[in-house]
């Protein structure tokens, strides 16, 4: 029972981090129709920058916030590179793959190849059903829930959010209505960067990150986003939770080395399911 609760709660909080990454995918895709394969890189930058700021003596809270803002700025720069010119969607997508590889190189040059971690907000572990839970998990849950509510409300209820969705729904008509489609895309990249940064900030104290962890984080986030057809933030959150919990149970009851394999198998199943559900070309 104790082990079960521990795996479940760990899985939920890791899942929420995947959900944050998935939301970044959804946000950028909903506005630009670009699948941003550099999404995982934002998390790495978020974690690494927090680490450096903490090491430089900047207090907790401020470091994390600055790192998230920096990730947002990186998102904006990536956005300018990926969608700034008048290029086809497929080219933008390939650019994001390039940016992801480029980010790994930058990460390795600045932070090296050893895994990086820092202690989360200091505090006692607490006990639920006999399971020791780090306080960091609680922070993950609260922070991500706040962000989810804000994103869901922002997209679903506000005029600005609807205008953002209109950009991907029909870019030409959006321009006719006076919406600056390019600027909306850059805003989406900025917000996507910040969401990815937040994911990195939250997960680094729980599991040390290496410069190339963006691939596994990105793939899991992408898989979670696929659950919602890349367009539904709500289903993306659900997808993240499923992946997080599945991963922990596989690691706990089977073997940690099978985590990624199971996540990838789930991704393939989901892609096949989506392909069946949505007619060919429906997600382009």
């Amino acid at each position: 029972m104790t082990a079960f609760v521990e795996y479940l709660l760990t899985g939920v909080s890791r899942g929420l981090v995947f959900s944050l990454l998935a939301m970044g995918f959804v946000l950028i895709y909903r506005v630009t129709r670009v699948v941003n394969f550099a999404q995982g890189a934002f998390a790495i930058f978020g974690g690494f920058i927090t680490y450096s700021l903490l090491k430089a003596g900047i207090p907790h809270g401020v470091s994390e916030l600055l790192a998230i803002l920096a990730a947002g700025l990186i998102g904006l720069i990536f956005g300018i590179i990926a969608i700034g010119g008048d290029i086809p969607l497929l080219a933008s997508l390939v650019i994001t793959i390039g940016l992801s590889i480029f980010s790994e190189a930058i990460g390795m040059l600045i932070w090296g190849t050893t895994p990086i971690t820092y202690s989360g907000l200091a505090g006692h572990d607490f006990v639920i059903f006999g399971a020791f839970i780090q306080r960091q998990y609680l922070i993950v849950v609260i922070a991500s829930l706040v962000v989810f509510v804000a994103v869901l409300y922002g997209f679903g209820r506000t005029y600005f959010g609807k205008a953002m969705s209109a950009c991907a729904s029909n870019p030409y008509a959006a321009r006719l209505s006076g919406i600056n489609v390019k600027r909306m895309g850059l805003i989406a990249f900025t917000l996507g960067g910040a969401l990815g940064g937040l994911a990195g900030v939250l997960i680094t104290p729980l599991s040390p990150l290496t410069y190339n962890a963006d691939i596994s984080l990105g793939i899991t986030g992408f898989a979670a986003a696929i659950v919602g057809g890349l367009t539904s933030p709500g289903l993306a959150v659900l997808g993240g939770l499923v992946f997080g919990i599945a991963e922990q149970f596989v690691a706990g009851y089977w073997s940690p080395s099978n985590e990624t394999a199971v996540a990838l198998a789930l991704l393939i199943v989901l892609l096949l399911w989506q392909a069946k559900r949505v007619p060919a070309g429906g997600l382009e």
Binding site: A166, N170, A173, L176, S177, G178
Partner: protein
């Protein structure tokens, strides 16, 4: 609106003070090919004007240039008021609700309350929370017109009102346009392949062919014009 090159002489040719929208020697190029060769048209305040012509004549290019989507190579656009564009193929936001589609028409400013639109097209009222992509072609055309009207325009340019719609639906929507024109004094620039419809509901018309204005005149005269009849109204020359 956009103006690239001001030609005072041609501006004087036209009494621009009572026209709400005018183009003067508008030239548009796509790469090396020329889509519009010096097109001059004008739409008076509260006037209903038709622009007819075959596929590829430059009708949609002209409207997209008026809306600022395409930059002209030379020539001028004079717009004394607000222009709203109902694009070819309706171009609604398929993933958004009818309500959201209509409200986004007010993005540039003005009231975001869609209620007046539901008075104009009561059949949209019960569909307001439906995804616009699931509506019929006629309903989508209504949504597209409402979205344009939300900008509170002085002139509304409608591109291919009849495209892909049943004749009864077309005449219903056309009637709404005429009514709108009469009641609010909104000028209408109607771009149509269906010349019969366009000439019937407008007072003046232009015939565009290969990027040139071939003919212009009163719609009733063009309806009787043998060349127009032969080319666009299925008549025998």
């Amino acid at each position: 609106m956009k103006s690239t090159e001001s030609t005072v002489d041609s501006a004087n040719r036209l009494n621009s003070h009572d026209s709400v929208l005018a183009t003067i020697d508008l030239v548009v190029r796509y790469g090396v090919s020329v889509a519009l060769h010096g097109v001059s048209i004008h739409v008076g305040k509260g006037e209903m004007v038709a622009l007819i012509g075959p596929n590829g004549a430059g009708k949609s290019t002209l409207l997209n240039t008026l809306s600022g989507i395409i930059r002209p190579a030379s020539g001028r656009i004079v717009c004394n008021g607000k222009l709203a564009h109902v694009p070819e193929g309706r171009q609604i936001f398929p993933d958004l609700t009818v309500d959201d589609n209509i409200c986004l028409g007010a993005y540039r400013g003005g009231s975001r309350d869609p209620a007046p639109m539901y008075e104009l097209f009561p059949q949209l009222q019960r569909l307001q929370n439906r995804r616009a992509g699931g509506l019929s072609g006629g309903e989508q055309q209504m949504v597209a017109i409402c979205r344009a009207l939300m900008a509170n325009p002085d002139v509304i340019a409608v591109d291919e009102l009849s495209q892909g719609l049943a004749p009864l639906v077309v005449s219903d929507i056309a009637r709404h346009l005429v009514e709108l024109n009469k009641q609010n004094g909104t000028a209408v620039l109607l771009v149509e392949q269906n010349a019969q419809l366009a000439l019937n509901i407008t007072s003046r018309a232009y015939v565009i062919e290969n990027g040139h204005i071939g003919l212009e005149g009163r719609s009733s005269d063009l309806l009787r014009n043998p060349a127009v009849r032969a080319a666009y109204l299925g008549g025998v020359r």
